[in-house]
Structure formats: C-alpha cells, structure tokens
Subunit: 432 residues, 2 copies
C-alpha cells in the first residue's frame, strides 16, 4: 500500500456515522510499520481490492473498515510466540480500535464471525499474532436480534428464586449411568435444595441414555420433588446434537418435563442456537466446550467475552463459562469481564444469567459471591453435590447451608458445627 | 487420583475393540507427573466421576477414554507460552495417543467436537497447554456419515476438467460492487479460461448485492460463457448465512444458475453444513474463516487437519484452506497434511478437492503443483485474475497459459515471450 492507500483506512469517529459500524478492539504484534499493518488489517477484513482495474471508483469510504485508534510499543525481543513464516522486521505490540461497517454483511452471526474473526483478521500481512479483544454493537445492529427470551428475571421467576444465586448441580456420574438411577440422583439433589439438576455437557441423546427416556424420568422426578418441597425445580436437558434435530429434541424434552434446555454453543454453532431460540418455549442454556481452544492465550485468538456477547445476542438465557480457581486456568479479570458481558446494558437485549463454573462445592461459594459482587449468578457444582460423601441430597443441602451462612454473615466453620451436611463437605472437599 | 485410578485410564490396543474407539493424537505440556496428567486428560473427556458414592460400580471399562501411547520429554525452561494460573511443578512436553469410545456420544458432529476439543480436553488438571493434533475414525463410525456427494470425481465431471488443476477465481472487488458489474467480471473471467468464478467469503446475501439478484445475473453470464467457449463453467455462490436460511438460499442460488455453493464452515457450524449436504443438489465448498484462531500455534489449540477431516465428514466436496507462501503463515508440511486429509482413503467417504489458497497468480502455480505432486487440487487466485492489469479475461488466460507451460515443460518466462497475458502477469505481480 502507498501512504495514501494507508490513509484511506484511517478515520476519526466524528467523520463516521457510528451507527453503521461495529467497534472492534484488537491487540496485535506486527513486523514493520504499525500504521501499514493496521491499514492491512482493515483492508483484508473489508475491501481487500477496493476498485476495478481501470475504473475510477473507491469502495473504501462506504465499505472499508477504519482504524479509529492505534497505539504501538516496540517489542525488542520479537514476537511473543513463534509462528511459521512470520514476517521479519522490527516488531511492535499494538492496540487498535477498528470500525467495521456492519452493512457489509448484516445481522447474521456466521457472516459477523467471518468478518471479525475470519481470514481478513488472521491473515493480514505483517500480523502473525492478533487477538480480537472485544466487540461493541450500535443500537441499530442490536435491534435485529431477539436476544434471551427469559433472561435473568425470567429464569428467577421460573424457579421462584430471588435475591440469591441460582443453584445448579451437574448430575454425576455424567457418562454411563442409565436413565433410572440418573433420575434418582437428580431427585435427591432437588430434595436437598438444588434449583436445577442438569445433564453434563458430554451427556446428550446417547444410545445408553436416550433423551426421551431420560427426560421423561427426570420430568417425573422433578414434579415429585416440587410436590415434596413445595418449590419449583428445574431439569436442564442437554439437547446438544446436529442442528436439524434441535427442534425435535427440544419438543420431546420439554413435553417430558424438562423446563430448561442446554446447547454446547460453539460445537452446535451460534446460528443453530439462534434458530432454536425462535422456537424455544423454555430458557436456553449455553455451555462452553471449544471456546478455550482460541481464548486462553493472551496474545492470540479471540477473547472469551466476545463469545459471551455473541451467545447473549444469539438468545441464551443462561451462559455457563469457565469460573474462578486454578483448575479453570482463567484470570480473575476475565471471569469478571464475562460476567459483566452477561449483565451490562446491551440495547434492548435482556441480560443472561452468568454461571462461572469449575470444581465448585460449598466451600467455594463465598469467594465466588464476594468476587462477583452480585447475587445474579448461577453456581454449578458437579462432584460438590453428587460426589458428597453423604449423597446428593446432602451435597445440595451443603450448598444451601453455605449460602445461608454467607447471607447471615456467619463463618462456614461455625455454621458447620450444627449442620452435618456442610460439616461433611468441609471435611471431604477441603482435602488437598 | 491414586495410582490404581491412573492405571484405569491406560490400555493396550490389543485389550480394546478398536472399532468402538476414535484415536486422538494429542501433544501437551504438563506440570507434575505425565502419567497422571494423561489419565486426567482421559478422565475429564469421558467418565470424570466413574461411580456413584457408595455404589460398587466402575464406568471406566466401557465409557472411559484410554491412553494407548505416552511419551514425555522434560522442558527445563517451562511452558512454551505463559498461561494464567498455570500449575506448578516440573514441566514435560508429551505426545499421547488416546482411544475415546465414540459410543459415549454417537455420530454427531457437535457431540464429537464437545468430546475431543471440549472442556475435558482444555481443562484437564495439570495441562495448561494442549493441542489436538489428529483424529482417526474406525470404519463403523465413518459408516454413519455420508461425506461428499460429488467428491473430486464429481466436481471434475461437472466442469469437464480432467488431468489438470481446477481453476477458480475470486471475483474482486469483493465488497461493494453491485451485481451487474460483478457478473460482468465473472463473465470475463470465464471467457479467459476460469473453470469457476466465485464469490468472496465475505460476500454473501448482502443488501447491496442480494444473492437472488447476483445469482440470476451470474447464472445468465455463466450460460453465455458456456455457449461462447463450448465448455462447462461453474458459478460458486457464497450462501453463508444463518442455518435456517441455508436451504432457501441454496434453492434460490441453484435455481438461478449457481452450480456450486459455498459456506464459511466454522462460522456456520459443521452441523449446519451436514444438514445442507442432505438437501444439496450441487457441490458444497468450504471456506476457512476462523480456523486460524485455534490452529496457528504449534503448542496449543487444534491442528487444522482435524477440521479438514471434519469438513470432509460433514460432506464438503471442495475444501478451501490456507496455502503456501509467507502471506498465509502456514508451514508447508501443514498444507500438505491438509491436502492429504482431503484425498487419502477414509472408509467409504469420497475425497474432497483441496484448494490451498492465498495470494496466488500465474507465477505461483508451478510451485503449488510441484509441492503437492498431484493435479487433484484447485487453484484460487483473486487479484491474480481480477487485478490483472489487462482485466479479468487476461488474468484468467495468464493462469491457463502458465498451466500449459508447466504441462509442456516450458519455463514461464519462455512462454511469456509469445503470450501477452502471461507476460503482463509476470511483469505486474512479480514486483515486490
């Protein structure tokens, strides 16, 4: 590109109709001139060839992505990670804000993904390492999406659970257990105090646990638990499957008594989720398989909050995400960024309930709550309920006892003196 | 895990019914004991809790993933990339082959992805860095998939193009050009010798270029070009969109004269592609947006050939992938691995035509051909045809002239002496 060509991909906000643009935050490492690299990043993701040969025209003003902000810092030791065939030259680490005209593709998730994390982004000349850090949508773009049908308020109303976290439990053993004993475990969990008993993300419509049979047994167990406890309960059925089976599986599961359904969002595809959202009669829950494959490293890939925003846009009422603790290998700030992406204002799109998960049990609840600073979250133990030494009812009770202690301002160890299930949890799970 | 627990996740091939297992090649970096890390990698992706509390049962024999091979090498300088909250202890780089029982989830792409690149793989204790390097399917699993409907042979028959590469051209300007002049460019490309004129992956059903209008004009232009040249031509329409629009867009595009259709495979979702495959009447072409986000780095993510295999399984007849040259930042061996993944035997699944692309023009064809060692590939210039200084017909002609020279064993520079279009390409594109 000439310096004139490069200048064609820079703009100031005041020059643009910002309602026509997505704003993308990128960090990248480039070899050579950072301005040229940033211009290529814009060109490649929009008008890579902005005129016909021998025709006086220029598609950049309307269709070109534009650099709004650019900061560059030299990296004297070169790229953070080795990349095959990486360009040579002085290396800079850059932060760029890019305005991308959404009229190039419209309010379609696959086309949005192709634009903001596609070939143009990951194959821009001079930029072997790039990470899409965040995305912001103007009101006009958000207006084309329905977002969550129930949202946090709707999920709370369904479960009649207010002013506290929502207590989920992942029924374990997750793989191999036939539907009848599996349903019995869920039933025990509900009796002990779970709001929602859920299928593991690896358990879907399996030959040894067909969804129709499992959801019928769980639906029946749920109604029995509601009668026994006098409060609404949730059975979250994992209907992750090929996209052309989602509607049928939703219908079977819901008819049988599932009152929430789950998709592994990225493996199914966000577009499949958006399709199901138009049909769904119960809250949709997203689980996070595959997202870590492109979001864990600090200098490459796509930040997980981008996918949290896209999942909210697609219509998930509940978003399960990697939470705190060393097991999940996720920085605390990233968990908080994802929780905020669920709850903060987003046009007319309802909030999604964030569920930061990972090896939780009664003893981790207080830290999660204090760190989030809100009760608008879900708590999702697996073994912390279903691996409790006194069984699932006791496991669930230990969680509720922990919450009551937190609410009352009483230390868990003090409360454990009188509450057997909590005491057993502290003894069993606190072991290294 | 105890050492007995760890041993429960190791097996020898002779002990297993291998037809019941996928084989997964992983590389990973772990802190602490590599055997324990590998056992956790199996446990987390299958039976994370393999028995109920106080019930004498063990789901590992049937449902557990098993380590078949494990090699570990100390990494004295620690992990290759920094990871937040990474575990501490002596670091090893490991290579493991894991047998994963596909009966856990069945022949469903979203569930397959959840199992082999989901939470269990990327959140195994002790393993902050892991890469799924390859996947092998037993015949019983492959038998549940249709794979490509046309395959390499069918695409060749459609285009009556044998014993040579298939010549694609990406019509440029890709974004902004209205359908009428866009179709005119395609027409010129066909007259010059393109087999297939294609939409860019960023151009789909856009308000300023509706697919219905574009495909009607291109369909008409294609038929005129066929009459003028006497040979079949292909118009490849990009129908990337929300999954519930794919069938309708396919039908509109095909009725209007598109005789191949393209999806951005990962943004749409492989399951959406598999759904379309059941309906499609023309070859399906995959483009690669987003795949680089998790496949570029050597020590983390998922190797791109895994997605090449999954795209072939989903039913893509043609797979466009990052090709050779510094622009694509892809090691030569990786391009070759992806090409082989398209062409090598895979049960009864037909081969897909590999199209390694990236900044190609007449002068890069010989290297691509020599490096691949086969004519079973597609060649897909964009600017190399539509940025040719004499226009698209000359751009396409320059590619065909280059191929004729290669076939005849004549150096391009020698052939350029008599062929104007090739000479102009060499002068224009060879400039730095």
């Amino acid at each position: 590109m000439t310096s004139d060509d490069i200048a064609g991909f820079f703009a100031r906000r005041a020059e643009l109709d910002l309602d026509a643009y997505l704003e993308l935050d990128f960090t990248f490492e480039c070899a050579g001139d950072p301005r040229s690299a940033a211009a290529h990043l814009c060109s490649e993701q929009s008008t890579a060839q902005w005129k016909r040969v021998d025709v006086a025209e220029d598609y950049r003003p309307r269709f070109g992505a534009k650099v709004l902000e650019l900061e560059a810092t030299p990296l004297p030791h070169g790229f953070s990670y080795p990349v095959a065939n990486a360009p040579t030259g002085g290396v800079h680490r850059c932060r760029a804000v890019i305005a991308h005209p959404h009229g190039n593709f419209g309010a379609r998730l696959p086309n949005l993904m192709s634009a903001v994390m596609g070939e143009g982004v990951f194959f821009a000349p001079g930029i072997p390492l790039v990470r899409l850090e965040d995305i912001r949508f103007p009101a006009s773009y958000l207006a084309s999406f329905d977002g969550p049908q129930f949202g946090v308020t709707g999920v709370r109303r369904l479960l009649q659970a207010f002013d506290r976290p929502i207590f989920f439990g992942v029924i374990k053993p997750n793989i191999g257990l036939p539907p009848a004993p599996f349903a019995e475990l869920g039933h025990e969990g509900w009796l002990g105090g779970l709001d929602v008993a859920k299928d593991d993300e690896m358990l879907a419509d399996a030959p040894w646990s067909p969804l129709a049979e499992r959801s019928a047994l769980l639906g029946d167990a749920r109604r029995r638990a509601e009668q026994a406890t006098g409060v609404p309960k949730g059975y979250l059925a994992n209907i992750t499957d090929e996209v052309d089976r989602l509607v049928a599986l939703h219908d079977v599961a819901v008819a049988n008594g599932a009152n929430l359904v789950m998709l592994n969002a990225l493996p199914v595809g966000l577009s499949g989720a958006r399709m199901l959202r138009r049909h769904a009669r119960v809250p949709l829950v997203a689980h996070f398989p595959f997202i870590a494959a492109f979001s864990r490293l600090g200098a490459y890939g796509v930040h997980s909050r981008v996918f949290t925003r896209l999942q909210r846009l697609a219509g998930f009422d509940v978003i399960i995400m990697p939470g705190f603790g060393s097991r999940m290998m996720t920085p605390e700030h990233e968990v908080l960024e994802n929780v905020r992406a669920c709850l903060e204002p987003m046009g007319d799109i309802r909030p999604s309930l964030p569920v930061p998960g990972g090896s939780d049990w009664a003893g981790t609840l207080e830290t999660v709550y204090r760190t989030l600073g809100t009760t608008d979250f879900g708590f999702v133990p697996g073994r912390g309920v279903f691996g409790h030494p006194m069984g699932p009812a006791a496991g669930a009770a230990s969680i509720r006892q922990a919450w009551d202690a937190i609410r009352d301002g009483v230390p868990l160890t003090e409360r454990a003196a009188t509450q057997t299930e909590l005491r057993a949890a502290l003894a069993h799970f606190r072991a290294p």
